[in-house]
């Protein structure tokens, strides 16, 4: 028998074991679990998913100010995004779990939009899986990194996570931090039984409606941005595009890199219902006075301990009519309910 066959055999048992646990669920549930969604005729908006999969914390780790929490759930389908195209990712036969990492700052507890997280999963010194996680957006976790992975039966695993530098400008206490990559090791025990026993809930009535799941009820940092009225600054306009809410505002505290005679224009695009920030998008602002364009330029990704992930630019004055143009929609993989929204995003004239 080849080594690979041995592995394959082991993994096959894992899946069978899982299917055994799933005896709790009806056949219909088991079938829907294999699909990313069963909602037909989806609108280009956020919709309530068909089901919710429970997740559990498998371990935590840290290095300097980097804190990592690792969670998993049963494997599930999702969509990768390149440009405005999505690609449905189905669950391979040998997937054992959907592994997710959230990275946050130990000092400010801000969830970090690090550039990338790769994981090498090993058991007894043997690598069983290695890959770069996708940046992802899900209705119960918001922005995180993850993918379906194959494990090799019950036992103790080590996840060696390579965490990239932050791909956004840090403001306030985040200024200058997280400019270097780091490695974090998280050890975890895996039992098929505990994974198979996680909550699984279906929503036959709500599925497909314009709504979203609540953020998961767990003591982990979730990247949620403040409601419009709670933003620490003066709102200069709001808009909607691709079912995302956009709030433009002038923070009370102007970041240090902005010259004294200038203003920091911040734009916070967020998901409806849950106010998760939308990372990895290209956004341009156009300011005009009496029909004349006085500023047109790209906004940079930034993260603030007070108002989270946003896009911002230093401008002479924001005392003008503001339009926003989405040059590229959020390049983040989507879980069910987010895969049709935030893709076709038209320009907006912001209004108060």
């Amino acid at each position: 028998m080849h080594r690979r066959d041995v592995l394959r055999g082991g993994v096959a048992v894992g899946v069978a074991g899982l299917a055994g646990c799933a005896g709790l669920f009806e056949t219909e549930s088991a079938r829907s679990r294999e699909r990313a969604t069963t909602v037909e005729d989806r609108e280009e908006e956020v919709y309530h998913p068909t089901h919710r999969e429970g997740a559990t914390t498998v371990g935590t780790g840290g290095e300097g100010r980097y804190e990592v929490i690792l969670l998993y759930s049963v494997p599930h389908g999702f969509w990768t995004v390149s440009g405005s195209e999505t690609n449905l990712v189905e669950i391979p036969d040998d997937a054992s779990a959907h592994l997710m990492a959230t990275i946050w700052d130990a000092d400010t507890e801000t969830v970090l939009p690090t550039a990338n997280v790769s994981a090498e999963i090993s058991k007894d010194g043997e690598t069983v899986d290695s890959r770069d996680f996708w940046p992802m957006l899900s209705q119960n976790m918001g922005y995180h990194f993850g993918d379906n992975i194959g494990l090799d039966g019950d036992g103790t695993y080590t996840a060696t996570l390579d965490v990239g530098a932050m791909q956004a400008r840090g403001l306030g206490d985040l200024a200058g931090a997280f400019a270097e990559r780091t490695t974090v090791e998280v050890e975890f025990d895996h039992e098929r039984e505990s994974l198979g026993g996680l909550a699984y809930e279906e929503f036959p009535d709500e599925q497909g409606e314009a709504a979203a799941l609540d953020p998961m009820d767990a003591d982990i940092p979730v990247a949620q941005v403040p409601a419009r009225d709670d933003l620490p600054g003066s709102v200069v306009g709001t808009g909607v595009s691709g079912d995302a809410d956009f709030v433009a505002f002038l923070p009370d505290e102007t970041p240090e890199f902005v010259a004294d005679d200038r203003t920091y224009l911040a734009v916070s695009p967020r998901t409806p219902y849950n106010r998760y920030p939308l990372p990895f998008m290209n956004l341009s602002a156009i300011l005009s006075q009496s029909g004349e364009t006085v500023f047109e330029g790209a906004l940079d990704a930034a993260v603030s301990p007070d108002f989270g992930y946003h896009y911002g630019v230093s401008v002479e004055s924001a005392d003008s009519a503001l339009s926003l143009r989405v040059d590229a929609p959020p390049q983040v993989s989507r879980h069910e309910g987010y895969e049709t929204a935030f893709l076709d995003m038209s320009a907006m004239k912001l209004t108060i």
Binding site: G83, E90, T127, S130, D132, D147, D162, R181, T183, M281
Partner: protein
């Protein structure tokens, strides 16, 4: 395998390269009886001055692209003694290398087709030159290896030397390695006049293959999905052709022009782990084409199969890909690997010559990226262009790896830099020979 579960001769032979050693070789030869090759050269003085002058011995495909030898071994060696090498060692080692040249032809004609017998280069690391009091001349750019992206963390090679052996025959690279190390005294009917035992110790061996069909035959490794997604016409694991004539530097461009090592080149060897489960299971064909080549290649369906339809060019300049990299990053949040790399060209021509090959070392899909360039800084410039950190910097949508070419699927585990001297200085050279 055939239906009895026995490996076919071909499967066995290439598995043997990865395994290595006398037993693998003898098992290989027992099965095949060895390839029927003429002996090598009697007139060693007629061989090219440049060790890296391989192209004239390679077959070309229908489009004029050079076809790389199919089987490769990178033999990393440490000089066995302290301090700087002795003249005795130098003479013995040179005699061993000459024996290889007498044993096998660089190439020969087999049923009307050019096939590579044995080509090889010998290179030396910065660590090797530390053995001497004198420094390398300014005409040689050979810095210590280092990480070449903010997101990589490679181990750095400090072996003294590397021998890159390549052949169209798996048995030949194996036998040459055995003979060099003193484990075999005769090679293709030619007595080895000497070997490297006692002079060099083997520090590491890396093996692999490149060419149509080989990745498909070798896809039962970690890092490739079980669905066997790699097609028969793919020369590399990622499913696409590379080494288009217009994507390769000429041997002249990578040759050192002046100083004592004129006629030599530099070699960068990186060991890269390929993570192709996402590539094949989670990206669409369109995403793969866009990420490997350029978004316009996906939009306009320019690539058929592995890309043989492209002829001798990846259509980078023709489609304005390098010039559009910044725009694509902005408006698509995505850029292609070739598109980025093509930004490192000089007057429209590439500055590195790829001699890379895929690998099953350690049971995982890998790529040994061997590149030749006049100066290591040419490699660094090309790699920086390929990293696209500048593009990710100005485009929030473009990840440092996500949708940024193929960076997401590659993990650089090791990097090493070597000087490949001209042939007459290939054996234990001093840093500043007269």
């Amino acid at each position: 395998m055939d239906d009895t579960g026995r490996l076919t001769r071909r499967q066995f032979a290439k598995a043997a390269v990865a395994i290595g050693g006398a037993s693998a070789l003898s098992a290989c030869l027992d099965r095949s009886g060895g390839p029927d090759l003429p002996q090598g050269s009697d007139d060693l003085a007629a061989l090219p001055d440049r060790q890296h002058a391989w192209n004239e011995f390679l077959a070309t495909d229908d489009h004029g692209n050079d076809v790389a030898p199919r089987h490769h071994v990178l033999l990393f060696l440490d000089y066995a003694s302290e301090g700087s090498p002795t003249d005795d060692d130098r003479e013995t080692a040179e005699s061993a290398f000459e024996s290889l040249e007498r044993a096998y032809p660089r190439s020969h004609d087999s049923d009307g087709e050019t096939r590579v017998g044995l080509v090889f280069t010998v290179g030396y690391s910065p660590a090797y030159f530390e053995r001497f009091d004198a420094d390398l001349p300014g005409s040689v750019d050979l810095p210590e290896p280092k990480a070449l992206a903010s997101f990589e963390n490679p181990d750095l090679d400090a072996q003294d030397a590397v021998v890159h052996l390549a052949s169209d025959y798996p048995e030949v690279v194996l036998a040459a390695e055995e003979a060099l190390l003193g484990d075999q005294s005769e090679l293709n009917g030619v007595e080895m006049a000497a070997d490297l035992s006692g002079i060099f110790e083997r520090a590491e061996r890396r093996t692999g293959f490149v060419g149509d069909g080989l990745p498909a035959e070798n896809q039962d490794v970690r890092g490739v999905p079980d669905s066997e997604p790699i097609s028969e016409d793919a020369p590399l694991y990622m499913g696409f052709k590379s080494g288009f004539r217009k994507s390769q530097a000429t041997e002249e461009r990578v040759t050192i022009q002046g100083g004592p090592f004129a006629g030599g080149t530099t070699l960068h060897a990186s060991r890269i782990r390929l993570q192709l489960r996402q590539w094949y299971e989670q990206d669409s064909r369109s995403q793969r084409v866009g990420k490997m080549f350029c978004p316009v290649h996906a939009d306009e369906n320019l690539v058929e199969g592995a890309g043989d339809n492209l002829g001798d060019t990846a259509l980078m300049d023709e489609k304005g890909c390098p010039a559009h990299a910044s725009d694509d990053a902005r408006t698509k949040g995505m850029v292609g690997h070739s598109q980025k790399s093509a930004r490192a060209r000089e007057d429209g021509s590439p500055i590195i010559l790829r001699r890379d090959f895929d690998s099953t070392d350690d049971g995982e899909a890998g790529l040994h990226f061997v590149a030749l360039q006049r100066e290591i800084s040419d490699f660094v410039a090309t790699r920086e262009a390929m990293n696209g950190e500048d593009l990710a910097e100005e485009s929030a949508a473009l990840g440092q790896k996500n949708n940024n070419g193929i960076l997401q699927y590659m993990d650089v585990l090791r990097r090493g830099n070597f000087l490949v001297p001209p042939r007459d200085l290939r054996t234990l050279p001093e840093p500043n020979p007269e």
